[in-house]
C-alpha cells in the first residue's frame, strides 16, 4: 500500500475548528441539540468536537455514543458476527436536534444503521450528519452529510483513515493506494 497524507496535523486542527464554528452558526448555544458519535471511530471525533465546542461556548454539551452493530444490514453476509461496542445515551432525544458524528462517510450504510439505532431512544425533531472525511463516490444509499471536514475523490480499492493523536499518536488523514503488484 502506498501512503499519502491528505491532511497534516496543522490542517487537521484548522478543519476541526471550522466545523465547530459551523455547528455554532446553526445550533446557537446547543440548548436543544445533542451530539451522538457512532461507535467505534466516530467517538474520538465526537470527543474532540465536544471539547472544542465547550471551550468556545463555556458550558457543557449533551453527548452520547451509539453502537450500531445490531442494526447493520450485513449480518450473516460476513465471515464473523460483529462484536458490539458500548452504547451510552443517558438522555431522551425526543424533540431534540441531533447531530450524528462519524469519521468517514463512504457507502452510507453505517449512517443508515445509525439512524435506525438512534430511533430506539426517541423521535428527534431534526437530524444532521457531521463527518470528517466524505469519500464522494461509491455512495450506495441516498445519504449526504451536512457538515464535511474534507471531501476526497477515491477509488474503491483505496482506503481512507482518520488518525487521532490520542490513539495513533498524531492527528492526520491518510489515503492508502494499493501498488500495482498488490
Amino acid at each position: 500500500m502506498e501512503k499519502q497524507v491528505i491532511l497534516n496535523s496543522k490542517q487537521f486542527a484548522l478543519t476541526l475548528n471550522r466545523l465547530c464554528y459551523q455547528l455554532i452558526e446553526n445550533h446557537d448555544d446547543f440548548s436543544d441539540t445533542v451530539l451522538i458519535g457512532l461507535q467505534p471511530r466516530g467517538v474520538q471525533f465526537l470527543t474532540r468536537i465536544k471539547n472544542e465546542l465547550e471551550s468556545i461556548l463555556g458550558h457543557e454539551i449533551q453527548c452520547g455514543f451509539l453502537d450500531i452493530t445490531f442494526y447493520r444490514d450485513d449480518f450473516r453476509r460476513r465471515e464473523n458476527p460483529l462484536i458490539p461496542s458500548v452504547t451510552n445515551i443517558d438522555f431522551v432525544i425526543e424533540k431534540k436536534k441531533v447531530v450524528l458524528i462519524d469519521d468517514v462517510l463512504y457507502t452510507g450504510r453505517t449512517i443508515r444503521s445509525g439512524l435506525d439505532a438512534m430511533l430506539a431512544f426517541g423521535r428527534p425533531s431534526d437530524v444532521e450528519l457531521l463527518v470528517f472525511v466524505d469519500r464522494r463516490f461509491k455512495r450506495e444509499l441516498p445519504i449526504q452529510a451536512d457538515y464535511v471536514g474534507k471531501t476526497v475523490d477515491t477509488l474503491n480499492s483505496e482506503r481512507v483513515s482518520v488518525e487521532w493523536s490520542e490513539i495513533e499518536g498524531e492527528d492526520k488523514v491518510l489515503l492508502f493506494t494499493p501498488t500495482k503488484s498488490e
Binding site: 464473523n80 458476527p81 458490539p84 431512544f121
Partner: protein
C-alpha cells in the same frame, strides 16, 4: 476472537473459555438493549426459530421466546402435549417436518439425555439445547455464571456450592463445566443418595453438611428436588431433607460472611429454600431471570451469525 467454536449449543462441555467470554461480552450489549425504551433490535429479521418443548417449562420457554422476539426473529412454538408426538411420530420426523417449513434454528427441551446431540447430527438446522433430561442445560449455566460475574465482578477464583439433587440435575452438570472453565472452585452438597458416585472425577469438592458448605462458599446455588425424575425414594421424607439441606434465614444470618443465594427456578418455597431467603437482598433469583434473556439473545445472535445464507 469474535466467533464461537461450535455450530450448535448442545452443552457447556463443548465450549471453550473464550466462547463463554464472547457470549458474556455480547450479552452485556443485549442487557443494555433490553433496558431501553424500545427493547428490540432488527439483527435476526431473516431467521426463523422453532421452540420445541417436549417437557414442561415456564421460565426457559418464555425467556427463549422473548430473546428471539427481541432479536426480531420469527418464532414458532411447539409443545408435545398438544402435538402429533402423541400419535407416535418420531423425533426426527417431527423436526424434519418443522424444518420443511423453512426453519433455521431449533431450540429444544427433551426428557432424554443426548436428544439435542442426536438431533444436531441428523437435521439441517442450528440446534440449541434448552435442557435434555438429566444431561445439560447450557443456557442456564451461562446465565448463572453471568449473574455471578455481574454481582461479584468476576467468576475466576470464586467458590460456588451447588446444593440439592445433583443426581437428577442438568443445571448442576452444566454449572460445574461452566464455572470450572471460568476458573471457579465448585462444591456439590446434598444427601449421599443424590450425589453421583464418581462426581469427584470432575474435580469438584463434595460435602454432606450444608453449614460446612455455606461457610466455605461465596455463592450458593440451591436446586429443586426433582421428584418427577425420582423413580425410587432417595431420602426418607421431604421434611427431613428440609431440616438437613434447606436454607433458612437463621442459617444465612449465622454465617461468618455474606453470600449470594441463587436458584434456577422453579422454587419449592419451604423445601430447599424458605420464602424469607428467596426474597432477601442476598438472593439474586430475579436478576438471574433478567440476565437469562440477555444471555440467550447473545447465544442465539452468535450462532445465527454462523448460518449460511
Amino acid at each position: 476472537m469474535n466467533n464461537l467454536s461450535v455450530e450448535h449449543l448442545i452443552g457447556i462441555k463443548d465450549l471453550t473459555k473464550e466462547d463463554i467470554e464472547l457470549i458474556f461480552q455480547t450479552a452485556d450489549s443485549f442487557k443494555d438493549v433490553i433496558n431501553r425504551p424500545i427493547k428490540k433490535v432488527p439483527s435476526l429479521r431473516d431467521i426463523t426459530i422453532a421452540n420445541l418443548f417436549f417437557e414442561n417449562s415456564t421460565r426457559t420457554r418464555l425467556s427463549f421466546e422473548l430473546a428471539e422476539k427481541r432479536l426480531s426473529a420469527d418464532v414458532v412454538n411447539f409443545s408435545s402435549a398438544s402435538s402429533s408426538v402423541k400419535k407416535g411420530e418420531t423425533l426426527v420426523d417431527t423436526v424434519n417436518n418443522i424444518l420443511a417449513m423453512k426453519v433455521d434454528m431449533v431450540v429444544m427441551r427433551h426428557p432424554n439425555p443426548g436428544a439435542a446431540k442426536f438431533l444436531s447430527e441428523r437435521v439441517n438446522a442450528t440446534i440449541i439445547n434448552a435442557g435434555d433430561g438429566t444431561h445439560e442445560h447450557p443456557t442456564q449455566a451461562l446465565l448463572d455464571a453471568y449473574s455471578i460475574r455481574e454481582k461479584l465482578g468476576g467468576v475466576e477464583g470464586k467458590k460456588i456450592v451447588i446444593v440439592g439433587d445433583i443426581l437428577h440435575s442438568r443445571v448442576a452438570l452444566s454449572n460445574i463445566f461452566c464455572l470450572q472453565k471460568l476458573g471457579a472452585e465448585v462444591m456439590v452438597c446434598g444427601p449421599t443418595t443424590l450425589i453421583p458416585k464418581y462426581i469427584k472425577e470432575l474435580g469438584v469438592k463434595v460435602s454432606h453438611n450444608l453449614r460446612e458448605a455455606l461457610e466455605w462458599c461465596d455463592v450458593a446455588n440451591m436446586l429443586r428436588i426433582q421428584l418427577e425424575r425420582q423413580d425410587i425414594k432417595y431420602f426418607p421424607s421431604l421434611r427431613e431433607y428440609t431440616m438437613l439441606f434447606g436454607l433458612d434465614k437463621e442459617m444465612l444470618n449465622s454465617l461468618n460472611k455474606e453470600i449470594l443465594v441463587m436458584h434456577p427456578g422453579p422454587i419449592n418455597r419451604g423445601i430447599e429454600i424458605t420464602s424469607d431467603v428467596a426474597d432477601s437482598k442476598q438472593s439474586i433469583i430475579l436478576d438471574q431471570v433478567e440476565n437469562g434473556v440477555a444471555v440467550r439473545m447473545a447465544a442465539i445472535y452468535l450462532l445465527a451469525g454462523k448460518i449460511e445464507r
